[in-house]
Symmetry: C2
Subunit: 377 residues, 2 copies
Amino acid sequence: MYVWGARYAQAVRLDEISTPSRVAAADEGVSTSELGLAARNHGMPLEAMRYDLTPPGLHYLLIHYDIPYVDAESWQLTVDGVVDRPLTLDLATLRAMPAKTVRSTMECAGNGRARLEPRPVSQPWLVEAVGTAEWTGVPLRDVLVAAGVGARAVDVVFTGADHGVERGVEQDYQRKLSVGEATDPDVLLAYAMNGAPLAPQHGFPVRLLVPGWYGMTNVKWLTRVEVLDQAFSGFQQKAYVVRQSADEPGDPVTRIAPRALVIPPGFPDFMTRARVVRPGVVPLEGRAWSGRAPVAHVEVSVDRGATWAKASLGPDGGHRWAWRRWTHEWAATPGRHVITARAITEDGEVQPVDAPWNRGGFVNNAVHEIPVTCLEA
Amino acid sequence: MYVWGARYAQAVRLDEISTPSRVAAADEGVSTSELGLAARNHGMPLEAMRYDLTPPGLHYLLIHYDIPYVDAESWQLTVDGVVDRPLTLDLATLRAMPAKTVRSTMECAGNGRARLEPRPVSQPWLVEAVGTAEWTGVPLRDVLVAAGVGARAVDVVFTGADHGVERGVEQDYQRKLSVGEATDPDVLLAYAMNGAPLAPQHGFPVRLLVPGWYGMTNVKWLTRVEVLDQAFSGFQQKAYVVRQSADEPGDPVTRIAPRALVIPPGFPDFMTRARVVRPGVVPLEGRAWSGRAPVAHVEVSVDRGATWAKASLGPDGGHRWAWRRWTHEWAATPGRHVITARAITEDGEVQPVDAPWNRGGFVNNAVHEIPVTCLEA
């Protein structure tokens, strides 16, 4: 029988059920709690980078609590706070407003967490918490203009219908943007993904879409947009920060750091996922993206970073916030190789071999190394 | 930096890359290899049991190797072996044949593996490797009749386009059915899932659908159906067996054992997934299914199996192979409770509290226990 921790056996207070954040011991394998999150919240199999738009069901998912059931007929979005005209919008009203479609690569801020040593204990992403979709909705700016947002406005707070407890704090999921960030013309109240209504797990019926920002800002199952005349500092604002210890405030996690990933070449071993190729020209391809300065070029190494070659980078097609395809040809010879790629931005930011550790395990954009064995011919 | 095992550093033979099956040590956490599988192959969040048909993207997935790219225009299915008229079918031909739709609950044979002690090292499912869909396609029987399957036929072998290595054996994924099993009128060459073309991860363009059998038999990305005049014993036939040690042949894994699951009530803690409710009537609901004899009733316990009450079981709606909804009302009082449910079949098979251990970690249908804390009012 599956034995639950005795520590919960008599727990009747939230702070007994909901444990403090922690870092795994040096030799500690992945725990059942982490596995429970991994079984729910899946990454994108890397071979899905062959598609410009991630097929439904392959886009990564990170859901803090449960997927809430939201009835589209009765759903309403409240827009209030320090506005001239508080609004209550239903789905039909929103869909009747001028719409915009933005192609956006979304990535979890915790992507790469399980590759850090020591490992922060949370959703144990390796490298695959990413996906790209075309999101359609109403620019948030239009709704804020309709509500009348004046000079007093400081922050805009977004509340989702997902409810839970985290580190002892019962909450609906909430995140904020500054008024300046919220009125960027590409920020959407999105009701469609790749031309179809949002799936339940992606925020049906309406979610926030903030291109270039890590996923935590893209609040799903929106119920309320509240404009504040002061800075908001809710639970999730304090949780998604880069810091070394739990008692410092840390730096907020915001925009997506540059990353390139490789579609693992050849074929895999089922269990180890080790890759196998045969001698000859092996086409390499992958994707690169950045929520900071745009990706300028991608470099590939087949010798674990000893030498780098420039990959061929596909056009951005006018999609500033979407990943770009890159390709490279590798003349594989029998033996052992390590394939990796790195993105370099127009600002000269180079994706690192080692990313600095932080307690939450955020923004780890260290290059992904893929060991490949080339068999004898 | 993420450090790969030194054991692969010079590997140039398949049997060096592809490790033998093993069982985790008593105190061994989930390994990076298991986590790599969990990040790709996701379960169904249990709250998705609220839907009769699992929404796209929430159905469980188990893919042994990579998702292959299959071009629908050039795809062909070969039907050959000991048949009178070997066939080559393209998608248009298949879609022009009389179609059938079957609602089917599919479950991974390894569901529950990570709850076994000691834990067999493979895809580390807890309890959520399940989903229900309506599959549309051509009855395999019609195709076999068209090809002319005579009295010599023994087994029918199904080959997928997914290619990899497993325990040192390079292979395309293959499974068999006996001719008797293969000609069951509900076995389909399925090209649609819930009315839409199959997603890449579910076997686009055509997969086998064998209602009532564990997932491993439902071969995805079909390329060939071969009729043999002798018994087939390929790699996957020998892998999906119930046995105590690696050196015994074991009993084949076939049909889905009865199981009931509960939608976890109340709301969760993010990290531990511990559940919280408040005092009063808490509606409980879930689903129950069986690929053996049909589910006759479902029982619920709110005291970790000390006492059981009969749940209200919804109609099967003529869907013999789909899960059935059950409901129950629980008068929650402050304190600590363990909620569980069990399915009982028309044959009197009772879902067990403890399922017998086996080396592959298959068919673990032990009841799922959900610890729930009821707060003070």
